[in-house]
């Protein structure tokens, strides 16, 4: 932030006081003012009306607050929560992933089949779906959307937003208006989940008239047309996005059992960057619900009668990806010692709230195929960690940090400060590792600095710490396959790691949609990544947390922990 800059420049620009005591008096006056106001603030308290549920009520406006704003109303473009969340309420997807079971269920596609090679997926579309401009949703719309989503359009200035989600996309065939056949170069089992994807840069369907617009024209929200339960009324960058109910909507995912239109008439997504202003606005009744609730705000809000709802983000945990090319994380013993060398319960007690969980595998428990390692390699055991290092020849040095061949056991970590929990959690790990003689050095920075440093991660950083939301075990393949994400910078001659074995094990995740076999493959992949080669140190499972007034009901977290408001209603009469 530039708070400090501003303050500094104000002071520098001010003419210097000649006497000292006016300064002291000024400071004293400021302190008194702050203390006085602080006292006034902390006295008394408000409470929200008690929850009275019952039959859903139609109508009303939901005032919703969140930290981010949509940079463009185009839902296929975007990397923040505001963008994916609003996109989910304006557009629909082919399929709906059940957030509890992970099962892929019908939505705009009534049914589907795929070939044995998993390179061709045939979707039978619903016939009653229309875009909000009245044009039909059909296989031509699927084709036009997927083509542009994966390839972009240079003339229109549209980026290939979906290229990473749908690797190896060849084409969409349209044998008849309500059958779409999506084809890939290589087996892509995860495409079925991708067809339901609701997180960043999502494949939500836009009308043909919208696809013809360039990036600039798409900043007119009334021209961004989807099939979703809400349509754009207005979009004001930095300030708010307003959605109104789509008249005649009747195709919510069958799994939601929601017939007909959305309950709410209108949703206002207010951008409020300051945490205290979000919670204050909730308490004063200006807004009905807020996302991005800080960890320290959860308990006070709950005590005042607000409801806290949360869901862990499905995908990988917040984790340390080890660089296997760089000293000292090229040593398996070091990686294993780090996994075992920090106290999970300390992080749980001092940093996390009930909404967040300590990671027990590389993927979150909500992802199908998750296996639990909390009783084995991810269990705090400082003695075992010390023994691992002793046996590998790391001897304690004069300052307590271990040394081998004259080189210190210093591990450099690059992390992102976007989630408030990250830094304190890493610091807790750092303290524990010091006790076993590992010097973990933290560089936890905002996204632009992180992105800049990731480019040099191969040569400069032992650990990159991040997470990726994708509710499918194939996220492991995407992140760790040496031929794809290669988060550990593996090469053919990486010592102690059978790279072909790992590549094959991860690649198998894309070759079957049979639940039992996928589970087996996911377990095998986790065994290699977490246990055998210790390529990651999972830290905690991030969560999305909403606080809302008692009169708000039915805010839904989907499989990617984004919110859908088709089911949401409120009974405060406003």
């Amino acid at each position: 932030m530039s708070d400090a800059d501003d303050l500094r420049s104000s002071i520098e620009n001010a003419t210097r006081s000649r006497r000292r005591w006016p300064w002291i008096a000024g400071a004293a006056a400021a302190v008194l003012l702050v203390a006085g106001i602080g006292f006034a603030v902390t006295r008394g308290g408000t409470s929200s009306s008690a929850a009275t549920s019952g039959e859903p009520v139609r109508g009303g406006t939901l005032q919703f607050a969140l930290i981010d704003y949509q940079r463009s109303p185009d839902p296929q473009w975007g990397t923040n929560y505001a963008e994916s969340l609003i996109g989910n309420n304006v557009t629909d997807k082919l399929t709906w992933q059940d957030p509890d079971t992970g099962e892929i269920t019908p939505w705009l596609a009534e049914s589907w089949e795929y070939n044995d090679a998993l390179t061709e997926f045939t979707f039978r579309l619903r016939k009653d779906v229309t875009f909000s401009d009245g044009t039909p949703f059909d296989s031509a719309a699927v084709k036009a959307n997927y083509d542009q989503y994966v390839r972009g359009d240079e003339k229109l200035g549209i980026s290939p937003n979906g290229a990473t989600l749908l690797p190896g996309y060849i084409e969409t065939r349209t044998p008849d208006p309500y059958t779409a056949v999506v084809r890939f170069e290589k087996p892509l089992a995860s495409f079925l989940q991708a067809s339901s994807f609701t997180a960043n840069a999502q494949p939500g369907f836009l009308a043909l008239s919208t696809l013809k617009l360039n990036a600039e024209q798409r900043t007119d929200p009334t021209k961004v047309i989807g099939t979703g339960p809400f349509v754009y009324e207005s979009w004001e960058s930095q300030v708010k996005t307003v959605l109104v109910k789509r008249k005649g909507y009747n195709w919510a995912p069958p799994a939601l059992k929601h017939p007909g239109e959305a309950y709410l008439d209108k949703i206002v997504f207010n951008t409020i960057p300051e945490a205290s202003v979000r919670t204050g606005s909730l308490e004063s009744g200006t807004i009905d619900a807020t996302l991005d609730v800080g960890t320290t705000d959860e308990a006070p809000l709950e005590a005042k009668g607000y409801e806290i709802i949360h869901r862990g983000v499905s995908g990988t945990a917040i984790l340390f990806n080890f660089n296997t090319q760089l000293f000292p994380t090229d040593d398996l013993a070091v990686r294993k010692a780090i996994q075992r060398g920090w106290d999970r319960s300390a992080v749980e007690k001092t940093v996390l709230t009930d909404s967040y969980k300590i990671a027990t595998s590389v993927i979150a428990p909500s992802v199908q195929g998750y296996a639990d390692y909390s009783g084995s390699v991810l269990k705090y055991d400082p003695d075992a960690a010390r023994k691992l290092l002793d046996d590998a020849g790391w001897a304690p040095g004069p300052d307590g940090i271990r040394v081998k061949d004259g080189k210190k056991l210093t591990v450099k970590l690059l992390g992102i400060s976007n989630l408030v929990v990250n830094k304190p959690a890493y610091e807790s790990v750092q303290q524990d590792l010091k006790k076993i003689g590992v010097d973990l050095q933290l560089t936890v920075v905002p996204i632009p600095d992180y992105a800049a440093n990731v480019a040099k991660a191969k040569t400069d950083w032992n650990v990159t710490a991040a997470n990726r939301s994708r509710n499918d075990a194939a996220v492991l393949n995407l992140q760790y396959n040496p031929e794809l994400g290669n988060s550990n910078f593996l090469t053919a001659d990486s010592t102690g790691i059978d790279v072909p074995e790992l590549t094959a094990a991860l690649g198998k995740l894309e070759t079957t949609l049979d639940p039992a076999r996928r589970k087996e493959f996911a377990k095998a992949a986790q065994d290699l990544v977490v246990d055998k080669y210790a390529l990651v140190n999972p830290v905690y499972d991030p969560a999305q947390v909403i606080a809302h007034a008692g009169y708000v009901h039915g805010i839904l977290f989907d499989a990617q922990s984004r919110n859908h408001f088709v089911n949401t209603w409120k009974n405060d009469g406003k």
Partner: protein, 317 residues
């Protein structure tokens, strides 16, 4: 006189060009790649290189830096800054969309700041009690010492959350302007007040004041008729600095009160390395800055006869 004007005008143009160039260089010296920032940071390692190349080509980032610089400079001359990388919106429209909000806020804050500053200076000069005078003189230091984000949040806590007098966020009408305006005016008033207090003190001891005393003027009469006019002139000199303070303060004020505005736009543009947007904002702000200084430079000779005489003498040589 024409030479004086030409000199000042040339300097203003140079400042704008230099600001554009420095901003451009800084953005390219920064290690981050603007294209990387268009992706989810966690996905960066799995974005295919050809996709990145396509994105770079989309925005012209694949050209040599010097070509990009000349191209952007050429277009900037005709006020075409291109489209924002992050939103696709034309830069000029993005700026024009938010500019009125900032202008209203800054102008109102400036008026209030000046009123506060004169109030403080008059009060400090009028009182004869030393302890009271010292206390009042300490206020400007206090004003600049309170961080804007802190005073903003405190004000919200009291007047919005607790008393409910004013809305806590957004910019809908006059009532939503009150709190941000006060928040921004306080630190801006500090330097002006300090300057005025000192000038009032100096002028109060000058010869013409003694003359007025001798003629039997009252203290109030002297302060308002004689001192006020002569002491306020130097306040014009720091108009540029005041403008800078307003812009800097607006970044935080706009963030705390969730208002749209040029401050927040700048912050986001820099955080996301939105090169065209940053270049556009820098040029517009630098141009305003240079324009204010130019106007001050030009009206100074009009207001101060001594300077006029010097210029006339210099011009005749």
């Amino acid at each position: 006189m024409p030479r004086y004007i030409a000199l000042k005008l040339g300097r203003a143009v140079f400042v704008v060009w230099a600001a554009f160039t420095v901003a451009f260089v800084l953005l390219f010296v920064l290690p981050a790649d603007p294209v990387d920032l268009l992706f989810d940071p966690a996905e960066l390692n799995s974005v295919p290189p050809e996709v990145k190349e396509q994105m770079a080509a989309n925005y012209g980032f694949n050209e040599p830096v010097i070509v990009q610089y000349l191209d952007r400079l050429g277009h900037a001359l005709i006020l075409d800054f291109g489209n924002s990388v992050q939103s696709g919106q034309p830069v000029l429209r993005a700026v024009v969309d938010v500019l009125p909000s900032t202008l209203v806020l800054a102008a109102a804050a400036l008026v209030l700041a000046v009123l506060i500053a004169f109030g403080v200076a008059l009060a400090a000069t009028s009182t004869r009690r030393v302890w009271l005078r010292n206390l009042i003189e300490a206020l400007p230091s206090g004003a600049v010492s309170v961080p804007v984000f802190l005073s903003g949040i405190l004000m919200l806590q009291v007047f919005s959350f607790r008393l409910g007098w004013f809305p806590s966020f957004g910019d809908g009408g006059f009532r939503s302007l009150v709190l941000p305006l006060i928040t921004l005016a306080i630190p801006v008033s500090g330097p002006i007040a300090q300057l005025l207090v000192r000038n009032f003190t100096t002028e109060l001891h000058s010869g013409y004041v003694t003359t007025s005393w001798a003629k039997g003027s009252t203290r109030a009469g002297i302060v308002i008729r004689d001192v006020f006019r002569n002491a306020s002139l130097p306040a014009l000199t720091i108009a540029g600095i005041t403008f800078g303070n307003l812009i800097a303060g607006s970044v935080i004020t706009e963030t705390v009160f969730a208002r749209k505005g040029i401050g927040r736009l700048t912050q986001t543009a820099i955080n996301t390395l939105d090169v065209p947007l940053v270049a556009g904002i820098v040029v517009l702000v630098a141009a305003t800055f240079a324009l204010i200084n130019l106007i001050v430079d030009l009206i100074y000779p009009v207001l101060d006869p001594r300077l006029r005489a010097t210029l006339a003498a210099g011009g005749s040589r």
